[in-house]
Assembly symmetry: C2
Homo-oligomer: 463 residues x 2
């Protein structure tokens, strides 16, 4: 482990920030970031740095790092590459222990020597360096936020349990923006770009020990040190689930990745095998990354048998298809249980699994169906398919579904297909921590990953 | 072909409709449907039928079909199963040639004999029967709409080129609702439920010949007559693309399908092989169904080499991954073409494919990149990845992307990952016929299906 990684708290929990390259011009990153820190309610002190200005956005502006009075814990640097070494040297003298360099123009542009010097300076000074060539960090708890995208285009998530480590700023920010629009909270976001000093292994280790982080997402093109990364992943998996996406798999995609962050993409099959060994949940693309991570906010399934409840017969059939295809089991319902269900089910419906409670199902019928399956120890997890469009339902069903998701007996995945009205219901559910899907296929795939991770963790506990 | 199928125009194009089971009670289907016909601007005459009322929603109400004055082309029936035979007999006497029976309680409930009588009555009278146990039809052109879901929960799509034949009302309606919320237009929607008389084969044949229909979607659990369906599909595929989803694949899923619409799901592998032979584009779930169909609104790719343009390096890498995984080619760019691109590309970017035009790309740089790849005959189709979150972009880019999609030289797929702001951009694009995706994976999968269909159609033309 890099010694400097111990100082990552001065990035994520910084009580004071110097913003080097702060600007009056709304088109400049240094303006957007300052505005975001102020408007976002950053809880510490902010020191804009720019020799050309006395004041920016009502904050006193300093000509350089050295002239800031008192202690500064973190510096965000958004100035051209050739100015960065001097700035970081100033940070070292000032005793700043966390530095986020957003600027590009280092290894990814062939300026390998400059990047090495930057890393060396930070290492010697014990500075936890994020970047260069990155978006930096978000921590909704301290409201530190170095992302240069304006709020109206890119929503910031509330506080929650998912942390995201990403080598690509664009990919990471898009996922976080998507999460925010669903009301899904995050613990930490970090885009580390070229990872000159601290890279994925350091960040995985830090977040594995972070109490706020319940699940880790990793987007990786090519690890700086594959062996260290996999050791970190292996240890992290024992504490919390890690969902990873490896990009730059094939030959040509690998070339594209190299010119992106200056790292060698490496052989995909080696990653795939190592992820498997480290019990990392692998996603196939951004969509799956987002689909998988949300199901981990609930408890673990005790077995791989799935109960399906639906008010739309066809969607139940699709869920059953997905369950069989993913190698999970459609739970068997005993004759006794069927009789118990038949007592409250209308005579024109069948007590079975999938349990089609029919298009005229109201909230009470959903509640009875959920309770019948929740109380059945043969069932490990539930897929609840809701056509919110049907006239007999309204948003009061949300409460029943949140209750089901909070029920420690088994995890659930809600499938809700439809347009704007349905999406509004999904967002309410997601904001309450209930994973929702537009299609049974990703819902079942996510439950499959959860089940596999549960088996691994249970196996570890028994030993 | 069923003779009665010739009268399907009296369903989809009906100039007058009797609504049997019209109701004053807003909780009843017969009220919602009447309200939807009126509010939806149905262009023909509406005759509510219910012996208990003189007037409903300001429309004169008739005690029965026979007492309606003048000609009636279509009847929508939403009364209990045991009343339906008499109503259909009345329709026959009245000379009504199109009947939509929404009511359940037929074959799916074991009342096979009742369903057979219904079919026989309609066959003898030459009535084009949709249903029973279905949602019926939407035709945005004539504004006929028998869907009993209120507008605020379930948006109706505008007029467009996609037609949807669905055995499951729930699945179909959810997809249509989703399409509507994106502004994607449809030509016809038909949920045919038990398909007592007319079923998938008749509807495929009808829509294959329908000038408004450019693409057909089919959701099928079990065909009434597999041989006829596949003949119809084979003929339809020669005229327009057909995207199909077969549900009820496995043993247990098949049982669920049988109790849903009373049809035997059949052996999935037989369907899979027959789809393949009929050149039907098969989807794996609702998500794919929706993903695939939209790309077909553009022209056909001339080859399987893909050009990728992106303002986010990581997303370009993911697109390249997806292209290699799907067995398409990442197009080779000649040195001469690279030199031409380098003339306008900033020096800190690389002229390559994927073409990463960097996070500071403005609209002009996107336009130049699109033109460079559009004009390159080695490239068959474009994947354009846009991070709309970046400060240098705004919705003026929509115009450039619509122009690219309308460009006959090659089809495009736009990848736009992100939250609410990005989704708003995607909806503008979709409403203009540009297919958009949240992830490169489904975008590339869709282009792959388009390319395969193009090869088939080109092969047919050459013969």
């Amino acid at each position: 482990m890099e010694e400097a990684a111990k100082n990552l708290k001065y990035v994520f929990e910084a009580k004071s920030i110097a913003l080097v390259g702060a600007s009056e011009n709304p088109d400049k990153l240094g303006n957007v970031i300052l505005k975001n820190l102020v408007d976002g309610g950053y809880r510490g002190k902010i020191f804009p740095v720019n020799p050309k200005h006395k004041e920016i956005l009502s904050h006193k502006c300093y000509p350089d790092i050295r002239s800031i009075p008192g202690k500064v814990e973190c510096a965000i640097v958004a100035t051209p590459a050739q100015t960065v070494l001097q700035i970081v040297a100033d940070c070292a003298k000032k005793g700043i222990k966390g530095v986020v360099v957003l600027s590009g123009g280092f290894g990814e542009m062939g300026n390998v020597e400059l990047e090495k010097k930057l890393a060396d300076t930070c290492r010697k000074a014990g500075i936890a360096l994020i970047g260069p060539n990155c978006l930096g960090v978000i921590n909704p708890e301290t409201r530190i936020d170095s992302i240069f995208m304006p709020f109206y285009k890119f929503k910031r998530p509330s506080q929650g349990g998912i942390s995201f480590i990403t080598q690509s700023g664009g990919v990471g920010s898009a996922v976080i923006d998507l999460a925010a629009s669903y009301g899904i909270g995050i613990a930490k976001f970090v885009s580390y770009g070229n990872g000159a000093l601290l890279s994925e292994a350091d960040l995985i280790e830090y977040l594995a020990d972070d109490a706020r982080t319940k699940t880790i997402i990793l987007y990786i093109e090519g690890a700086k040190d594959g062996r260290r990364m996999f050791q970190a992943l292996k240890r992290a998996s024992l504490k919390k689930p890690v969902v990873a996406l490896k990009a730059g798999r094939g030959g040509k995609a690998g070339e594209a990745a190299r010119s992106h962050t200056g790292n060698i993409a490496g052989e995909y099959l080696a990653y795939h095998a190592a992820f498997r060994q480290a019990r990392v949940i692998e996603a196939d693309g951004i969509g799956e990354l987002f689909d998988f991570v949300r199901v981990f906010s609930q408890g673990m399934p005790k077995n791989g048998s799935i109960g399906v409840i639906t008010n739309g017969g066809g969607i139940g059939v699709l869920a059953a298809d997905a369950i069989e295809r993913e190698g999970l089991e459609l739970a068997q319902i005993t004759e006794a249980d069927k009789k118990a269900i038949a007592k409250w089910l209308p005579e024109y419906a069948h007590a079975a699994n999938p349990l089609d409670i029919i298009a005229d199902a109201d909230i009470t019928r959903f509640e009875k169906a959920i309770e019948a399956f929740m109380g059945n120890p043969e069932i490990g997890a539930l897929v609840i398919c809701v056509l919110f469009q049907l006239p007999s339902l309204d948003e009061r069903l949300i409460k029943a579904l949140v209750k089901a998701s909070d029920d420690k007996r088994k995890p659930i995945a809600v499938v809700a297909m439809g347009g704007d009205y349905t999406l509004a219901q999904r967002k309410m559910l997601e904001a309450e921590g209930v994973p929702t899907y537009r299609d049974p296929v990703p819902a079942v795939r996510a439950l499959k990953r959860l089940y596999e991770y549960a088996k691994f963790r249970n196996g570890k506990k028994k030993k």
